[in-house]
Amino acid sequence: MKTNDGQNQVQSLLEKKYQNGFLSRGEKVIPVLLFLMAAVSVVTTIGIVLTLIVETFTFFKQISIAEFLTKKDWYPFSKTDASYGVLPLLVGTLKITLIASITAVPIGLAVAIYLSEYASERVRKLMKPILEVLAGVPTIVYGFFALTFVTPLLRAIFPSLEMFNAVSPGIVVGMMIIPMIVSLSEDALSSVPDSVRQGALALGATKWEMTWRVAFPAALSGIMASIVLAISRAIGETMIVSIAGGSTPTASLDLTTSLQTMTSYIVQVSTGDAGFGTTIYYSIYAVGFTLFLFTLAMNMLAQRISRRFREEY
């Protein structure tokens, strides 16, 4: 009886503590606080979209959308005859992205296949950190490498290449996205179950035949998604192109001459002395918005590919 009384006392104390005390208040307040923190990332997205839309709108009050989309020249700095046709910047971005993809996709896929299908555990353990370091090297370092090493090297081989060109930054952007393709494609290949591989090998396929006809197709959705994501990274890459690509907006498809991408235009204006409120100042938001739409579309495409074509084992 006495012990029971004691228990009741403890129980009522505990109940008091939980119902009115600090603990119960904490239990109610904390989820709200955490939700607010989670909301920050949503607010950030809204902030980005809102910023870009509002400032782009201001830009389009001064320059018509039609001029932005259809004119073929980008001469914002001209005092007498400024022209804001985004096409040259798009062409510049396209050239860089194309060269980067041509460099990165074959090498990236080859390394991914090598790691997942051929390499021994020891080689894998050696290669992983190398790729991690390559992925962790800041883009400013790659930019320096492009300007002071790759460009002179290429110019020694092709003398017609200008100091600033599309090839050197394109190749180096490709190098930068290789680790991304490797790591995501290798994940996709590793998720193909071994029983499928063994089935192919038991039917007499060589390792290459098994890889090409069985493992690769089974992992295709993940591999495609990795390529799309890497291309999206290449489109948004800024410093390498700013340092080694020059600052000449041109719609020509010539790869040996100086060019300008959407990203490197934003950098050029930011480092220059275009004052707040000028048309040039607002133009970086219009260009940034265009860039944002491109990368967003690529990211959504990647998500859709990996969801749509995911094979379930």
């Binding site: 989670a38 883009t139 090493f149 990368t295």
Partner: protein, 296 residues
């Protein structure tokens, strides 16, 4: 008759085997070559930078401010500035990142709202850093009147690396076994007590590993700083987070974009300092990962 036909096929198959095996070997060689290429790439990259920058690396280089004369230029302001910026980035991004991860993993219901937040985070991770710079320029520099201060840059960088920290923390929290949570509940813990005293201590290694990698990204990221308008030529040390400053990648960018080769050597020396910092941070991350790996 049928038997003969079968024999022909077998012959053909046997004849083809050497070619198939050769093909297998060639492809294996090509893949190995690609793997070697990435290795050589890393070696050349590092060798090139060290050979250019090592001779300019000295105590004076670390102690001096930026200068128009290359022989007197140093990176003191840039290193201190980067440290100041990280003093903003680390607490802000860690608090928001881990808080969001705890909410999504422990509190959020499996509903449309949660899916929306999750999708939003993965899309945010794909936004180019230069666009984050535009956000920082409008929101922090102009609207909140922070100017090109440490706080403006630090907050922009925090938002930039937030998705990385959230995803890493979510994975770490998800890896904590259910039994531990149930044991905590069984002992009478409330939900928040369980999270604070059981889940977070168990997940801390994973959270830190992912976060350190995110911090190294913030240290090396240049584009947002350029867009915000962080100056590259600073000859004083900041006294508070509201002061103007310069950061390591800005200083390197400034030296790289000068035409004189002497400044390129300085840029290489600056890159060495940057890489040493990043390698140290990554080593800490790897050490934490190995130390606490497979605890369960």
């Amino acid at each position: 008759m049928e038997n003969v036909q079968k024999n022909i096929h077998t012959d053909e198959m046997i004849n083809k085997i050497p070619v198939r095996l050769l093909k297998n070997k060639i492809y294996k060689g090509l893949f190995l070559l690609a793997a070697l290429f990435t290795f050589i790439l890393l070696v050349v990259l590092l060798a090139r930078i060290f050979s250019q920058g090592a001779s300019h690396l000295s105590w004076d280089f670390l102690q001096n401010f930026a200068s128009r004369r290359p022989e007197q230029a140093g990176i003191k302001a840039a290193v201190i500035g980067t440290l100041w910026m990280m003093a903003v980035v680390v607490p802000v991004s860690l608090l928001l990142g881990v808080g969001t991860a705890v909410y999504l993993e422990e509190y959020a219901g499996k509903n449309r709202m949660t899916r929306f937040i999750q999708m939003n985070i993965s899309n945010l991770a794909g936004v180019p850093s230069v666009v984050f710079g535009l956000l920082g320029l409008t929101l922090f520099v102009r609207v909140l009147f922070l100017g090109n201060s440490i706080l403006a840059a630090g907050l922009t960088m925090s938002l930039l690396i937030l998705p990385v920290i959230i995803v890493a923390s979510q994975e770490a929290i998800r890896a904590v076994p259910k039994e531990l949570r149930e044991a905590a509940y069984g002992l009478g813990a409330t939900k928040w007590q369980m999270i604070l005293r059981v889940v977070l201590p168990s997940a801390i290694a994973g959270i830190l590993t992912g976060s350190i990698l995110a911090f190294s990204r913030a240290i090396g990221e240049t584009a947002p700083l350029v867009v915000i308008g962080i100056p590259a030529f600073v000859a004083f040390l900041p006294k508070s987070v509201f002061d103007s400053f310069t950061a390591l990648p800005m200083q390197i960018y400034n030296w790289t974009s000068r035409p004189q080769e002497e400044f390129h050597f300085l840029a290489a020396a600056g890159i060495i300092v940057l890489l040493v910092i990043l390698i140290l941070m990554n080593s800490v991350a790897v050490w934490i990962r190995n130390r606490y790996e497979n605890k369960y």
